[in-house]
């Protein structure tokens, strides 16, 4: 563990070049990760601001704060910013970028310049979307269903759609980079089944990004063609089918949710092993479960269309497959818990986020099964039950995992330790605030409150007030890390190479690492999680 006699390494990736140019034109995957960290955090706050507006409006039954049209814009932009500019890039572009080369023993990703290009593409995409916000915002829902989005909406559909289109390429190129890196750049001895599960999770995620995002791209092109040129591809007036849009859209957007959760699951595997100081139970099963989620996740998209007019027979097939896709996720949850069993678990901040993730993801995932059942879904679709379900998996799952990872690897990224008591307190505040915000939404949704409405019947007010109150607690929880993490940059204890005593190549180099990651290329002769006692001499 770290001691006060540990010193920062004299040169590392942060002080190797101090000009703005050395940051904005960097090819170092670690610096690019930090560029993303700044941008992603900013867009999270934009999305959160829209959430504040939503919860303020919904604190009272009447639609008094925002008109119905403005409310449409607010929840749409909340969804767009959070899904495309926060949840999808956050873990891969920040922690994935930073850690994958380190964890496989490489000097950088396969295509460093492409990595920087990915960042700038993300940035340009965000400019288009920000432009759409200031020109009144999009009002179609983040799902921009046709024919409303193509024919009737008078909002900034094209700029927003273009922004998402451009942003998609950032994800595709990052996924491409990760796949090539993991195949071709592993250090000697780093075989596939010695890879950390974080890497397996990102490999599976990258497969989804590469196979799914292009379909989103063509879907947006078709919508833009209809809006700009008047080509009636989804317009019933010339015989177009709006449901075709939904097939194309959800073919990507369902696997997209696995893009959001798989990297967070990868984090959890790492944190569980390090905190329990134990080999992950069923390593091979967890690795293959990641691939399984990625593959089966492409077969279930029709469960978003049970009431849209798809055939009952197709709905049946999608329903059965949606039950099956839960299995690999369940395998992972069981394996994490089995890893903790009889491990010597140390309850520091990352472990708090692990516990939160496992509980909240379990609830979110199980409620997904309710929704996979066609009969139930007919009642629950387009209600707050759906909203609660996806917030449990995306916020209770992904964001908890993301924060756990940021905390766990903070010493490696910055060379500093944060105040762990504050870390644990804010994790608890987030957990409490989250449940207070979203659990009432399950109830109110089941009772019939529809989503995307700015007003609701009076009998739902108590639950909505609870939810809005919870949101303010959650906001406090999210703000706290900003402060103590920033404080640690200047005043935190020096971390040293391996403050957690964890196993993994990233811990075999300095904190922060040098620009080239390792002084000499590591040669790997040990298995993935050699706890509790690392084999003599494996630390390079």
């Amino acid at each position: 563990m770290s001691s006060s006699t540990v010193a920062m390494p004299p040169t590392h990736y942060l002080n190797n070049g101090l000009t703005l140019k050395s940051w904005l034109f960097t090819k170092d995957h670690k610096r690019i990760a930090l560029l993303y960290l700044v941008a992603v955090t900013f867009f999270f706050m934009v999305g959160a601001a829209f959430a504040v507006a939503i919860r303020l409006e919904l604190a009272t039954p009447a639609g008094d704060l925002l008109s119905d049209e403005n409310y449409n814009r607010v929840f749409t932009m909340h969804g767009v910013m959070m899904v495309f500019f926060f949840l999808i890039p956050a873990v891969p572009a920040i922690l994935g970028n930073f850690l994958i080369p380190l964890q496989i023993g490489a000097k950088d990703l396969a295509f460093p310049k492409l990595n920087l290009l990915s960042f700038y593409i993300y940035f340009v995409g965000s400019l288009f979307t920000m432009y759409s916000i200031v020109s009144g915002g999009l009002d179609t829902g983040w799902t921009f269903y046709t024919p409303f989005s193509t024919v009737a909406s008078t909002s900034a559909v094209v700029p927003a759609a273009l922004g998402i289109f451009i942003n998609g390429f950032s994800g595709i190129l990052t996924g491409l980079n990760f796949i090539v890196t993991i195949h071709k750049m592993r250090a000697p001895g780093m075989t596939w089944f010695r890879l950390p599960l974080f890497v397996w999770a990102h490999y599976a995620t990258s497969l989804i990004q590469v196979l799914g995002t292009p379909v989103l791209a063509i879907t947006i092109v078709l919508v833009a063609a209809e809006r700009i040129f008047g080509f009636g591809l989804f317009n019933p007036a010339v015989g177009g089918d709006p449901v075709l849009f939904q097939h194309l859209f959800w073919f990507y957007s369902h696997p997209a949710v696995y893009i959001m959760i798989l990297p967070a699951m990868g984090i959890i595997s790492e944190l569980v092993a390090a905190s329990a100081r134990k080999q992950v139970f069923g390593y091979t099963f967890v690795a293959f479960a990641s691939i399984g989620i990625a593959v089966i996740g492409f077969l279930v998209w029709g469960h978003h269309m049970f009431v849209s007019g798809e055939s009952v027979y197709a709905a049946l097939v999608f329903s059965v497959l949606s039950f099956i896709v839960a299995v690999p996720s369940a395998v992972k949850v069981f394996n994490w818990i089995a890893t903790m069993y009889r491990g010597s678990v140390s309850w520091e901040t990352p472990m708090f986020y692990v516990a939160g993730f496992i509980g909240l993801f379990a609830i979110g995932g199980l409620t997904g099964l309710f929704l996979a059942s066609m009969g139930l879904d007919v009642h629950l679709t387009d209600t707050y039950f759906i909203v609660a379900h996806f917030h449990y998996v995306m916020v209770g799952g992904t964001i908890m995992g993301y924060l756990g990872g940021i905390h766990f690897w903070w010493p490696k990224i910055t060379g500093r330790m944060y105040n762990d008591l504050l870390g644990r307190v804010s994790a608890v505040v987030i957990f409490v605030g989250f449940n207070l915000t979203f659990f009432p939404q399950f109830v109110v949704g089941y009772l019939g409150m529809p989503r995307r409405y700015h007003a609701y019947p009076e009998e739902f007010q108590v639950l909505n007030v609870l939810s809005s109150a919870g949101a303010s607690v959650l906001a406090v929880g999210y703000l706290m890390p900003l402060f103590y993490l920033a404080y640690s940059l200047k005043y935190g204890a020096i971390a040293g190479d391996n403050p957690h005593g964890a196993v993994g190549l990233e811990w075999n180099t300095t904190s922060p690492p040098p620009t080239e990651n390792f002084k000499t290329t590591p040669v790997v002769t040990w298995e993935a999680y050699e706890y509790p006692t690392p084999v003599e001499g494996h630390v390079v």
């Binding site: 196979l211 292009p214 063609a225 007036a237 010339v238 015989g239 073919f251």
Partner: protein, 231 residues
Amino acid sequence: MSNAASVAHDEQPHHPRLAHHFESLEQQTDSSLFGMWIFLATEILFFGGALMAYMIYRRWYPDAFALASSHIAILPGAINTAVLIISSLTMALAVHAAQTGERRKILFFIVVTMILGAAFLGIKGYEYYEKYAEGFIPGLGLEFRFPEPEYAKNAQIFFSIYFVLTGLHALHMIVGLGLMTWMFIWVKDGVIDTQYYAPIEIVGLYWHFVDIVWIFLFPLLYLIGRHVHHG
């Protein structure tokens, strides 16, 4: 990639184009080619989405599609198909010349490929103008005039898909011309040699892919109803 314990590779002579994060030119070449293939996989899914729209609507409106297709002049489409196939040959020969180190031949074949690509775009431009003159553009505020009025509505869908597919294809060709210009400059400046010609191969892969897309678009768009309506 190396299977022995490898340390800093500074002892071996460096090819000037070997990037510092790779252990060898071999690893770099393999990675670049693999990366381009993954990109082409994304393109298959991209065009695939538009092809799915085509499939669905052709199944729904077979007569409108056949009629609309028969009103497209077949000769320019057939010539363009031949032009692209020839350009694929010349592109393959450019890569071949790069492998054997024949610099002037590489330049020659790149230029010929570019001329053929430009010819394709010229013919396409002429076809687009024809559509405009005949009133087959289903949007842009223009009047859509279809000879068989009872099929006019659904024929608009055919032409929407026609313009989306051929338009995207043409955009990809323009990008291809840009990539070939870049390669021309690199070959001229001596950046490419018999050890380092992966960039030419990669541009070649891209160009062949664009050819393959057209190989499918030709029968799907031009030849649907030819046996029924000898338009």
